[in-house]
């Protein structure tokens, strides 16, 4: 990651966004082999947009990237990784409104659970 967010929780939040965006991309990449994941990938993209909206402008506009090995994960794995990342900090450290986003991520996790 090359982000310069102001707090560790904000950096984690950016990582969560990156993982959700990667899940959205993975849906496209795997559309032929796993069409059943397209809807959840779409949901990951929508949730990422919600997570971005919670950040202050300056933070939201930071460029972030994740490792290619992580990008290669499946939609389900990336969504689970995003959920795991949100456990790194107490809820009050995340931006206001994070609860709704975490609920959305958890629902996505439930959707992709085999």
């Amino acid at each position: 990651m090359n982000a310069t967010a102001t707090s560790p929780a904000e950096r984690t939040w950016l990582e969560v966004i990156a993982l959700l965006v990667a899940a959205n991309d993975a849906g496209l990449r795997d559309a032929q082999s796993r069409p059943q994941d397209l809807n959840s990938a779409w949901g990951a993209g929508i949730t990422a947009a919600g997570a971005i909206a919670l950040l202050p402008d300056a933070t939201a506009r930071q460029s972030i990237s994740i490792e290619p090995a992580v990008k290669a994960l499946t939609v389900a794995e990336l969504i689970r990784a995003a959920e795991l990342a949100t456990r790194a900090h107490p809820i009050e450290d995340f931006p206001q409104g994070a609860t709704d986003i975490i609920i959305e991520i958890c629902q996505l996790v439930a959707e992709v659970r085999p």
């Binding site: 397209l38 809807n39 506009r61 460029s63 709704d100």
Partner: protein
């Protein structure tokens, strides 16, 4: 004795004594005349079309209703976009006289709207008979608008034929004129398709028999799609950013996938005639899906720091995804065709989903306008990579300012990047037109009997927060 009085031009001016019903009946007849008049001036028709739509929407909004009826908002937005497009290209229809018949229709519709607005007391609930009349007026308005749109479509076809016959196609002027006429024709066809489906979905039974209408309740998917149609147009017009376009491409790709999935189930179930499915419909929908996903990738590669989307757009997408998922999925897997057939009124769902193709076509045209007019910005680094990979000669100052590159700022796309985005978008437009045409051949194998209203999920699911509208276990379009 004869008394001669001075003529009072105001008092003696003939007033229009027609009732709303008579005005609508006259509009119907006039609109039919449009269809019969093969010698009409196609230029005049296109010039006047927007006026009729505006008047019809005035009437639509004047018809009493419990909650604002926004079903024509998408048609309105598409007509405004068409108007902007033809106003910016003087080759057709250009300046000139209006179509007299269409003007008369427009005047009648406006008069009907005025009559209703001046006599209706706000805040008073309609009686059941009044509700029935209001619903009948809506259907008649849609009917008149549909006829008029079809007449305009015929005018567009006549114009295209005229260019083919008289303008040399090998010249740049000829090609540009043809392309403009074809684009306009596609847009009118999309509006007509929307109207056809609106009427089909909302047609109340028993309207002319004095029976109270057995009004089909809009399903969750119907409502979510209607909201999507309106909100996507609004967001794209207000904020034509790459993030908005990416969100729209993503949504349209998934809607197309659902369309494909439901169409396959309907063919396997025997609900619709599958003669053309493998040879025409499936390839067209698959191509459309690929076009949207390719465009989505094209946007995703270039997205810069402006990643925010309109919160209302996000909310609408959240509800739409939930409405789609409760139809398309069985836990983590796609629902089998058998389950879909049990779960859904497939024919109704297909009609709703066919509408998504024309929604997408309109959105693709708006996207093209936004890219064309230089409203879109892209991230500097990926834009440079794409520009360098093209065969285009590098301008003297380079493709990207080095300072923008250093900070990976959002920049105006270099020409090769712009060209590529327009090409990807053009693929979507072509694929949407083909898919719309292919799926219009779908025909039910048996008369349609919609499920009883109490088995349909009503459209009253509130959109209060994204998490409040997540999928539930009960199906949306039930049987």
């Amino acid at each position: 004795m004869t008394i001669h009085t001075a003529r009072n031009p105001y008092r003696d001016r003939p007033t229009d004594q027609r009732s709303v019903e008579e005005l609508l009946r006259d509009c119907d007849i006039l609109a039919r005349n449009l269809l019969w008049d093969h010698d009409a001036d196609s230029n005049a028709r296109l010039r006047t079309f927007g006026e009729v739509v505006e008047s019809a929407i005035d009437l639509w909004n004047a018809i009493p209703t419990q909650v604002p009826d926004q079903r024509l908002d998408g048609i309105h937005a598409a007509t405004l976009a068409l108007h902007r497009s033809i106003a910016s290209d003087r080759t057709w229809p250009g300046l000139g006289p209006p179509d007299i018949t269409m003007e008369e229709i427009s005047a009648n519709l406006t008069r009907a709207a005025d009559l209703i607005s001046s006599r209706r007391l706000p805040g008073i609930d309609l009686s059941p008979a009044g509700e029935h009349t209001a619903e009948a007026m809506r259907v008649r308005t849609l009917h008149i608008l549909h006829l008029t749109t079809h007449a305009t479509m015929l005018a567009a076809q006549a114009r295209i034929k005229d260019i083919h016959d008289h303008v040399p196609s090998h010249t740049l002027t000829g090609q540009a004129r043809l392309a403009h006429a074809q684009r306009s024709g596609h847009r009118i066809a999309a509006i007509e398709g929307d109207l056809a489906r609106l009427i089909d979905l909302q047609w109340p039974t028993g309207i002319n028999t004095g029976q109270p209408p057995d009004k089909p309740e809009p399903t969750r998917l119907d409502t979510a799609l209607a909201r999507w149609d309106v909100q996507a147009h609004r967001s794209l017009a207000a904020s034509p950013t790459l993030a908005t376009m990416l969100a729209i491409a993503n949504t349209q790709a998934d809607l197309t996938f659902l369309n494909l999935h439901i169409t396959r189930a309907a063919v396997e179930d025997g609900t619709i005639n599958g003669d053309d499915y493998q040879t025409r419909i499936q390839p067209a929908l698959e191509h459309l899906h690929t076009s949207w996903t390719t465009l989505q990738r094209g946007f995703a590669e270039l997205i810069g720091s402006h990643r925010e989307i309109d919160p209302d757009l996000r909310l609408t997408m959240t509800e739409l995804r939930a409405a789609v998922r409760e139809i398309s999925h069985d836990h983590a897997n796609l629902a089998s065709p058998h389950l879909l057939a049990q779960r859904l009124d497939l024919e109704h769902a297909l009609k709703a989903l066919q509408h998504t193709t024309s929604i997408g076509l309109n959105l693709a045209y708006l996207t093209r306008e936004a890219i064309d007019t230089g409203h879109v910005t892209v991230a500097a680094r990926p834009a440079l990579l794409q520009a360098m990979a093209s065969a285009a000669p590098v301008p003297d100052g380079g493709w990207i300012n080095p300072r923008d590159l250093l900070s990976n700022r959002d920049v105006t796309p270099p020409t090769p990047v712009n060209t590529r985005l327009l090409a990807l978008n053009a693929n979507v437009i072509d694929a949407s037109t083909s898919a719309d045409s292919a799926t219009s051949t779908l025909t039910p194998t048996r008369p349609h009997h919609p499920p009883a209203p109490n088995t349909l999920r009503p459209s009253s699911i509130p959109i209060t927060s994204p998490t409040a509208s997540t999928p539930t276990s009960s199906p949306g379009i039930g049987r």
